[in-house]
Symmetry: C2
Subunit: 98 residues, 2 copies
């Protein structure tokens, strides 16, 4: 099972009212030190077995450009997750360092 | 500058009409081999300098539980991005392996 995680975010400079609302909400709850909040989309696509990885990358790039992102105001990035990782569900509240 | 990327996804089993619509759209465009599509949120929070990393992790976990995710139907994960990485904007269509 191959899984792709597509990240679609607004381009820098594009107004993000949803992000502003979240920032306002966090401040109202008492959190300090927040400079900016931007809200984007995370699209997880699970593919059937037996698809060539290189072919898949091209296909996903094409999907992003044609349907998943609006290239005028959004930018995208994606990562392919291997079988083992895809099988492991992300724990609630788990942390990942990068 | 510290940046946090929060991933909010629907729990497995929770119906995702938006994901179904995206899957249908991709199939209409002629893409094959798609098993499932789930749509979640990607929330990028930029923090002001000088916040302790450990403290920040606790704070973000708290933010997720209280505002960013609905713990009944959603699960969350987050990662902290270091200054250097945060300064580098993600290129349009860039690929990341994991």
């Amino acid at each position: 099972m191959t899984k792709a995680r597509v990240f679609v975010t607004l381009k820098p400079g594009v107004l993000d009212p949803q992000g502003k609302a979240v920032a306002g909400g966090l401040e109202t709850l008492g959190y300090q030190g927040i400079k900016d909040v931007r809200v984007g989309k995370l699209i997880e696509i699970t593919f059937e077995d037996g698809t060539n990885q290189e072919r898949l990358r091209e296909q996903i790039d094409d999907m992003c450009a044609r349907l998943l992102a609006n290239p005028v105001i959004e930018e995208y990035a994606f990562e392919l997750i291997s079988e083992a990782e895809a099988a492991e569900p992300a724990a609630n509240g788990s942390e990942e360092d990068s």
